[in-house]
Symmetry: C3
């Protein structure tokens, strides 16, 4: 059995996991990324391709990640005959404000407050969020008095949120259909360009993500986050069944949790290794390793069709 993915986003941990669980691995990479991926012994087959849509005719099990929608498009994925780990139709849920709201409302997870431009107060700080996952690019902060002017140059769908003075944390979950269990596997904090302000007089800088850092969350906060995870799985099972595999809930925390979005696939923040997986598995696993483990378990029980679509 071969596990295939595109060389980007979180493919390293996906390939590492597949290798560890005994699968062959196949990676589709654009030419300029060849040197790095070709150096890795865990990659059994590297397909250097100008058009990454080639992966849609792969006969292995494809693990989608945060670059798939950008590279392939939602329609091509949903209409593909290829076997994807997880629910192909779940991928679109993070891409539109309308779907994000629908999922979070159904789950009863409190969202950050959105405001209309007419409601903003001059001296309050706001966060303008672009629609869909963009790795943080495009988002910006501004005072109410600056908003009208700054929004003139924004040409894509956006939303004005109250800025939360708090910590921004990203919680990584895996729902196993084979074990019928939700696992909370890690928490990360983003490293963004705007964090440069910890070393300079304040300046409004881009929120572009540069990397991720593992956070050991204060333990008393975990039970509520786990309940949010359970509620999310339950909601999505009604809205877009079946529910399979990885997702992440994103929060601002200022003493209360305010959900600022989610990833409807493996989240790049799970690249920051965490030890919580040992609580479920006795060993530390990256999310990519957890995915491969699920496929192996499914194959062992002859239930592969329950984890692919």
């Amino acid at each position: 059995m071969i596990i295939s993915t595109i060389a980007s986003h979180s493919s390293l941990q996906i390939i590492l996991g597949a290798n560890r669980e005994g699968f062959k691995t196949r990676l589709y990479a654009s030419p300029k990324r060849k040197n790095f991926y070709a150096s890795l012994p865990v990659v059994d087959e590297l397909i250097v391709a100008d058009d990454l849509k080639e992966i849609l005719s792969d006969e292995g099990i494809i693990i989608p990640h945060g670059s798939f929608v950008a590279y392939l498009g939602l329609d091509a994925i949903e209409n593909s005959e290829a076997r994807f780990f997880g629910n192909k139709r779940f991928l679109k849920w993070e891409t539109k404000f309308e779907l994000v709201d629908k999922a979070l409302e159904k789950a009863g997870i409190p969202q950050v407050e959105s405001v209309d431009l007419s409601e903003v107060r001059d001296d309050e700080l706001y966060f303008v969020r672009m629609e869909g996952p963009k790795g943080g690019s495009g988002h910006f902060i501004a005072y109410g008095r600056e908003l009208e002017d700054k929004l003139k140059s924004v040409s894509e769908p956006y939303r004005i949120e109250r800025f939360i003075d708090g910590a921004y944390i990203y919680v990584h979950f895996f729902y196993s259909p084979i074990l019928n269990r939700l696992e909370l596997l890690g928490v990360d904090e983003r490293l963004v360009i705007a964090d440069s302000n910890k070393r300079r007089p304040f300046k409004a800088l881009p929120y572009t993500i540069v990397g991720n850092k593992a956070v050991a969350l204060r333990e008393s906060l975990l039970p509520r986050l786990y309940d949010y995870g359970l509620a999310f799985v339950e909601a999505m099972r009604k809205l877009e069944p079946p529910f399979i595999g990885p997702f992440a809930l994103h929060f601002a925390y200022d003493g209360d949790f305010h959900c600022i979005g989610f990833a409807s696939r493996i989240d790049g923040g799970s690249n920051a290794k965490h030890w919580y997986s040992a609580l479920y598995w006795g060993e530390e696993m990256l999310m990519g390793e957890r995915i491969a483990r699920e496929i192996k378990l499914a194959l062992q029980e002859d239930r592969l069709e329950e984890v692919v679509t």
Copy 2:
């Protein structure tokens, strides 16, 4: 043999360690925390209880952590017949400025400078610290000119400290009575709500702890910290013998170390995994795993009474 604790603070690593070292595990959880802890295979027995004082009649070995004093009270712990890992009477030492000062002075560890309200200078920055471990809540920074006003609303014991422009690091130690050895097992940095200032124009925000991040400390700083750890153990052996198990020293570092307090039990910052344990044990261990290892070593040598009180 059963190892028991309360579901909070650092119970995940305690339970994980107990499981790894071959003990049965028992966890006391309040009802609203049930879902998360019930999902974990490392928990052998989950006791959902409205009153967590039930743990005081547990017949296993109880591992106390940072929530014990809040949940149970110092008197109930000290008067309990239950077997606690570590010295029960050491737990109180972090709860009062007077005891903190006594311990640090005895150990000769330099403390951050405290000042009287009458001494503050208008344009200097100060840190107002509430007494006892509160997870950072209540502490605040202010300029001298703001202090009198801000202190009016403070109803609990506090202390005014000179604000140190530096890194805040938390050093995790384990003293083993069985091996007669002090181990430096890790260093963390807190993630607090006030860190939000790395992404916004400055605002005085709460110091509430949200999580912890591992720090690989500059190696040249470790020998002095280790010496402080040795001195602390030596001092507490005189002030409150015997000395057993985990503690943490907290420092602000601006080129010099200024001690800002300590944890007289496993510190939540040890939830951030670190590799230094491999230097002592050839494998990486969380503090909770180290505790379980000590109990196992004690049992093997029939010296359990040396590590419980």
Copy 3:
């Protein structure tokens, strides 16, 4: 076979690695560092010495790190008869602006822009970098209008750089002559005293390094960094052959990479543990462990002379 180094900088991971790969370990420590290093079972022989130059007559394989030049001097190292892992003559390349520029230009790696004092603009922010590795000490930021005044008190060679509003990341590489392979083993972010600004109104503070934190870099950034690594190895093979072992490239990233320097030996930032090594080795290794592995591989193939000078 014995592996020897000086007790400082990154000696813990070097000793741990040597121990794991089956070597005897010998550590030279100044007297005030004795307690800590003496507590570590991975140290087979601790030589407490006032003069660390004793190491130059060690008959084992010496692993140099970032404190060697400061303790021993470049000439003493280059003229030593002792066997050093890596190319002794490479160590000097990080110590002079002229050599740094020569290496980076030869490799075609884009550098941060340096400016002359006469070119600075009053309201722009600049970073003044001292020559050579100093653990961040001495570097400072200032607006153009402040520079002339602040530079009056600087007595060592410096350079004025445009301040990059971005993330500062440090990329750790190992080039294996035995496998003829470049490995990208980790990325870290420095924790510096100036980071204190994430919790206080801005103040220009020292850039002194306090520690290092692992960063899981956004995966799409890795292939370019790997290409930079390859180009660096290729350039140094021409400028100062042979190329052996660890180095690090240092970057400011604001959407583009701007190289701000490199370490021509194991970089202290590799003390922050990272999982990328599992992609090459199936297990996680610190850089110090990777070094010991290379020596072991070389010995197994009777090619030790290819990795020592």
